[in-house]
């Protein structure tokens, strides 16, 4: 029997993309017209949760006036032996997905920003009470997360109560964020691995740590932990941290072992906080790519939404072509936007003080993470589109990499310039070329099947660290 026979509308992932426009809407919860709205998941002791209960505080859907927007809150309370506070955020994000599974019920955004709409047609079909929505959420939560033993759901439409809880919720979000931010690689026993991308790029292994989000930007350490706990045989798995071999570059014996095993020996070592030596492998779906620019001894970053060429002339696409597919390429590495906020962000290479170029919209987006004294020193596509312009910009702004140039030049002088071999004109043997003679060739016919023109480039000079 179906799980939702007693629900008046259909429930399934096929409704995920459904948009309910204003003309189709019966009522709206939260959204831009309402100041107070929130959703919250709380892990509780078992005695405080009544399994399967739906609580409605304030008027139910059928008692609301059509076409209006209402203040709104959803509280999902869960209990279970294996649950811990850190999972609250992971569960909370499922509210969005699960609500969207309901035909004619749309959920946008998260936390204090939620915006829900119920369609007129689903209301007509009988979806007129939060009881139904509560039942759906309860069943889906239990089905997806068997570690949830008890669950109850509360819907609040009473404006007073919403306000009361809204303030509480804001505090909880803040505490939760602070806790997540305070959690670092040093504080945990284990990392997590992800091989989801191996279905398309078979040699890629992501190592996910509190300080290092997955390359795609969608799996945090907490997410991976929850997933590994729920499905230990699944694509997210526990990685023992093992011995810390290099705290600056971020080399851990456990991570090395995991990467070696899961890549079938193709990748031996991985530095989590550096783009040199043994950088992390890059998959096909990374949010951004960091690339070393030897001419200025700095790091450039480009995200996948930046269409044009970067300062080194290559587009994101071209760069991804060079490094993607699970390869380990020194000086190039795929990263998530979130990793730019990490205190370990290329820590071995100088972190932000080494970043010299990035698209302006990303610079704006991670502004909070960039040390204020560096913000104006990092060039964007508006400042520099060639290496020359970049060099000029960095010099003018006094970017920290400029100091490195002097050292670099000293080193470079020690290396003797390579002498290019230029093939000289070879005189035809036996033919006197000095004066006195005049040679005339008549009816010369030269026939060649093919002429191959091969470009000969001088060997590239490598510059590093």
């Amino acid at each position: 029997m179906g799980m939702f026979e007693d629900i008046p509308v259909d429930v399934g992932p096929i409704y995920e993309g459904e948009r309910i426009r204003k003309e189709q809407m019966y009522v709206e919860f939260g959204g831009p017209n309402v100041k107070e709205k929130f959703e919250l998941c709380l892990v509780k002791p078992p005695e405080e949760v009544e399994d399967g209960k739906v609580i409605i505080v304030g008027p139910d859907i059928k008692d609301l006036e059509e076409g209006k927007s209402y203040p709104f809150g959803i509280i999902v309370e869960v209990a279970g032996k294996e649950l811990e506070k850190d999972l609250e955020g992971v569960f909370e994000r499922r509210i969005h997905y699960f609500c969207n599974y309901i035909e004619g019920f749309m959920h946008l955004n998260q936390r204090y920003d939620i915006w829900l709409r119920l369609s007129r047609s689903s209301f007509k079909k009988g979806l007129n009470s939060f009881n139904y929505i509560g039942k759906v959420l309860i069943r889906l939560f239990k089905s997806e997360f068997p570690i949830i033993e008890k669950i109850q759901v509360t819907f609040i439409t009473d404006p007073e109560k919403v306000k009361e809880w809204f303030d509480k919720a804001l505090k909880i979000y803040e505490e939760r964020d602070a806790r997540a931010l305070a959690l670092h690689d040093e504080d945990v026993e284990e990392f997590y691995g992800c091989t989801l991308c191996q279905s398309f790029a078979p040699s890629h292994v992501c190592i996910i740590t509190p300080d290092r989000l997955s390359l795609c930007g969608s799996i945090s350490w907490l997410d991976a932990r929850a997933a590994a706990r729920i499905d230990p045989k699944g694509p997210n798995f526990r990685v023992e941290k093992g011995e810390c071999l290099d705290p600056i570059r971020g080399e851990y014996s456990g991570a090395n072992e995991a990467v070696r095993e899961k890549s079938l020996g193709e990748v031996e070592r991985v530095y989590l906080y550096s783009m040199f030596g043994y950088p992390h492998t890059t998959c096909g779906c990374c949010e951004a790519i960091a690339f070393y620019i030897p001419e200025v001894d700095g790091i450039g970053i480009v995200d996948r939404n930046f269409k044009g060429p970067t300062v080194i002339g290559l587009t994101f696409s071209a760069l991804a072509n060079e490094v993607g597919g699970g390869r380990q390429v020194e000086g190039f590495v795929g990263i998530s936007i979130g990793y730019m906020r990490s205190p370990k962000f290329f820590q071995a290479d100088g972190g932000w003080s080494r970043v010299v170029w990035m698209p302006s919209h990303i610079k704006e987006r991670v502004k909070d993470a960039i040390p204020p004294e560096l913000y104006d020193k990092i060039a964007t596509e508006k400042d520099a589109m060639t290496i020359e312009e970049l060099r000029e910009f960095l010099k003018q702004k006094g970017h920290p990499v400029v100091e490195r140039w002097a050292k670099m030049e000293e080193k470079a002088e020690e290396v003797p310039e390579e002498v290019e071999m230029v093939p000289a004109m070879v005189p035809v043997e036996g033919v006197p070329v000095a004066g006195g003679f005049r040679i005339i060739f008549k009816n010369v016919k030269i026939t060649a099947e093919k002429m191959i023109i091969r470009r000969e480039l001088p060997p590239k000079k490598k510059k590093k660290e």
Binding site: P13, L196, T447
Partner: protein, 782 residues
């Protein structure tokens, strides 16, 4: 790579060593050697047999299934030979082999059409712009020509570079065609392998044709926001001179647009088109109008609206001159492949020809120079339009009833109808003044006109039908997004994560011809279903047009509602038939971009990758021409299944998998080398569906691939189950074959699916890193 030959002659050359007189230097080919970009794979420029073992791997699992169109062989004068009941022909051939041979022939005709088209365009563009037009598709497209890289092993830098690839196609074409001669190939699987080879070459030829026109004529270069252009009978202002272009080769249409531009005639003349030329016209000039797909050709002519008809090549009616004469519109043929018995006037003064045409001294002319043809057509249209006023209308209702009265209800029309529509009943009703049945017929009619030609009383049935639906078709005004061409590398990358994470269930491509029975809205209805389900929906050619001729509940067209990106819940019109290569090209790019598999001369590995990993399926709801056969077969060799419409059972052959034969569905786990049962995924390579409902359920099923992540499999199964429940009721009987672990089960259906699995005695299976090629088993380093 360019491959030009070099010839130098000098009467006298002074050098330091002497004077050379009468110097002649001849160099066969000047080749600029490519910089290193990727190691060369095993099969650059593959010969007919180079990929035979891959074909046999496919054919072992997906057996050819023939429903002979004809059980005789009439190809040589030994015959006719009766091949029924196990009999062999005079040459020794049996019926299965003959079917394989006919399939190969059909595919060859299709390939020849595309390769000929590509070659023609190439000459035209090289002459107009030179060989050195760069193959530049913009910053977001680094993998510019995936088929050329994959099959030929080089990266084209200029349009001139494609010459080598075209020569290769042309040579293969000769070898393959020769294999169909009496006394050559005698094994059906080998015929099929050759057909698969043809299909592969076909995509290469299409890619070349489309890329050269995109870069030389500056069509949209993978632009998701390509302009919305007009489509439908009602979009044309019949008070202006109307030029109708029919066919596939855009050259004459380009010249017409240029001529109008140069002479400031843009808003004085209407330029419209039928079939793929129409698509490509709008890619060049967004003010051009699309009348509709192939199925609208005869009907539009019958309205009498076109003042001049200009034809190029492919999918043009063979009776075009006769039909044009009926409405007193001259025909200008422009392509050597379609001269239509018209006098060659390429070298005559234009005004003289205009005069002949305007005064109906000749029904039409053949002009081989597109530029001249364009000038001629515009001048003729302007002059002839005022003279044609009387022909620009359909008969009155009274006249129509009079014509219908001639009907004796002999039913010849119905017997002639390829879809067995009750044509006679509609004509009978018209006798009594009821035109509604004729109008209904017009809605589902594929526009072939066979009913009329079968009528012993000479009733112009097709004209009656057109008249009956006149009010409806006058209202036809829709929007279509101009063909955007290739998929960007960045888009491929953007959908990577959601495909892996199970948010995008698959890619569905609507391709093919508009000759399917039932309403022309069926394709749009299917597309809408999958758009709402957030599949990536791609369309090309006539089916991209059918998708436009449909309004959602809110009265908007699908191209207006759904964005043009290659992304979940988006609708991409790649362009004309030849743009199909961008759809298969996108699958190739997935292998290149997600996994960094080398493309260069590496066909087999990439096809194996796509078959096992890329959840893409083509739906050729109408499959009429031989081109459709070669296009579908080309998708198949690359590991992409296709569904054909209800008349598909007569579409030569299917490639059907057998889920009941467990042994057919083992793959190697590339990590361990172990053979693992991976389920029947994808179940078929060519599958004829009886109804659009069946096609939709099958579409969802054929998106399933052995490598799916559990999240990906769960979403695919959710749609498969949901569609099955919606159209057939209940859970699909074969569901247990697709559930590998409990995590594959869509959470909203967990209880009922688990119960079903229990009944079936289901046991968890392994999820392999799948491949059919033992050489791709990864050896542990060290």
């Amino acid at each position: 790579m360019s491959g030009e030959s070099l010839r130098l002659k000098a009467t006298e050359v002074q050098t330091t060593i002497g004077v050379i007189k009468g110097l002649e230097v001849a160099i066969g080919a000047v080749i600029e050697e490519e910089e290193e970009w990727e190691p060369m794979g095993p099969t650059p420029f593959p010969k007919v047999t180079d990929l035979r073992s891959w074909d046999m791997t496919l054919l072992k699992r997906y057996k050819p299934f023939y429903a002979p169109f004809c059980d005789l062989c009439c190809l040589c004068t030994y015959g006719k030979c009766d091949l029924t009941a196990g009999k062999r022909g005079a040459c020794g051939l049996d019926i299965g082999t003959q079917q394989g041979r006919i399939v190969l022939l059909a595919c060859l005709i299709g390939l020849a059409a595309h390769a000929g088209h590509a070659r023609h365009l190439w000459h035209y563009l090289v002459e107009k712009f030179g060989r050195n037009v760069p193959v530049d598709l913009g910053g977001d497209i680094a993998v510019e020509a995936p088929h050329t890289r994959l099959i030929c092993g080089f990266r084209p830098k200029t349009i001139g570079d494609f010459d080598v690839a075209l020569k290769y196609v042309e040579e293969q074409l000769v070898q393959l065609l020769s294999a169909t001669h009496t006394g050559q190939e005698g094994n059906y699987l080998d015929f099929e392998s050759k057909a698969l080879h043809v299909g592969m070459l076909d995509h290469l030829a299409m890619e070349i044709a489309d890329i050269i026109q995109i870069v030389a004529l500056n069509f949209p270069k993978g632009d998701p926001d390509a302009p919305l252009v007009e489509i439908g009978f009602g979009t044309v202002d019949r008070n202006k001179p109307v030029i109708l272009c029919i066919g596939h080769n855009v050259a004459p249409a380009v010249e017409i647009v240029d001529y109008l531009r140069e002479h400031n005639l843009y808003d004085k003349v209407e330029v419209c088109g039928v079939c793929c030329t129409a698509h490509d016209m709008t890619r060049y000039y967004s003010g051009a109008k699309i009348i509709g797909p192939l199925s609208r050709q005869l009907r539009y002519i019958r309205t009498g609206i076109p003042d001049v008809i200009i034809v190029d090549e492919q999918c043009i009616r063979a009776d075009i001159v006769r039909e044009a004469q009926r409405i007193h519109a001259p025909v200008v043929a422009t392509n050597e492949k379609k001269c239509e018995g018209l006098p060659d006037r390429t070298h005559d003064p234009i005004d003289e020809i205009v005069d002949d045409l305007v005064n109906f001294r000749v029904p039409g002319v053949f002009i081989e120079d597109p530029r001249k043809a364009a000038e001629l057509v515009v001048k003729t249209a302007i002059k002839i339009a005022p003279l044609r006023k009387q022909y620009k209308t359909l008969p009155s209702k009274e006249e129509l009833i009079e014509l219908a009265k001639k009907c004796t209800n002999c039913k010849s029309c119905r017997r002639a109808c390829p879809n067995d529509y009750p044509v006679n009943e509609a004509v009978q009703a018209a006798k009594n003044g009821d035109l509604s049945k004729l109008a209904e017929l017009a809605e589902v009619c594929v526009g072939c006109g066979r009913c009329e030609s079968a009528c012993p009383r000479g009733i112009p049935i097709f004209t009656l039908m057109t008249k009956a639906a006149e009010a409806e078709i006058e209202k036809e005004r829709y929007k279509i997004r101009a063909g955007r061409g290739p998929i960007k590398d960045t888009e491929i990358r953007n959908v990577g994560a959601p495909i892996v994470l199970g948010e995008i269930p698959g890619v569905v491509a609507y391709i093919g011809c508009p000759n399917y029975p039932g309403s022309y809205r069926e394709v749009a209805e299917m597309a809408e279903e999958f758009l709402r389900r957030r599949y990536i929906v791609v369309a090309s050619g006539c089916e991209a047009m059918d998708i436009a001729r449909y309004l959602t509940e809110e009265g908007k067209g699908l191209y207006e509602v759904y964005p043009g990106d290659f992304d979940a819940g988006c609708l991409v019109n790649v362009g004309s038939c030849v743009a199909n290569a961008h759809i298969s090209g996108a699958a190739i790019k997935i292998a290149s971009i997600f996994a960094r598999r080398n493309l260069r001369g590496n066909y087999e590995e990439i096809a194996d990758y796509i078959l096992n990993r890329v959840g893409a399926v083509g739906v050729a709801w109408g499959a009429m021409s031989q081109k459709a056969a070669s296009i579908a077969t080309g998708f198949n060799r690359l590991g992409i299944p296709a569904i054909v419409g209800p008349h598909g059972s007569k579409y030569r052959r299917a490639y059907l998998g057998r889920p009941d034969r467990e042994e057919d569905w083992y793959v190697y786990d590339a990590r361990t080398g172990e053979k693992v049962y991976a389920g029947p995924a994808p179940e078929h390579l060519i599958y004829p569906a009886e109804s659009k409902e069946e096609a939709m359920v099958m579409t969802a099923k054929l998106c399933i691939r052995p490598n799916d992540t559990t999240k990906g499999r769960a979403i695919k199964l959710a749609h498969y189950i949901d569609l099955h429940k919606k159209f057939f009721g209940g859970l699909p009987e074969d569901l247990h074959l697709f559930v590998r672990t409990e995590a594959d089960i869509p959470i909203t259906m967990k209880d009922e699916v688990l119960e079903f699995l229990k009944e079936k005695g289901w046991k968890p299976m392994k999820i392999p890193d799948p491949t059919l090629l033992p050489r791709l088993i990864r050896r542990k380093a060290k």
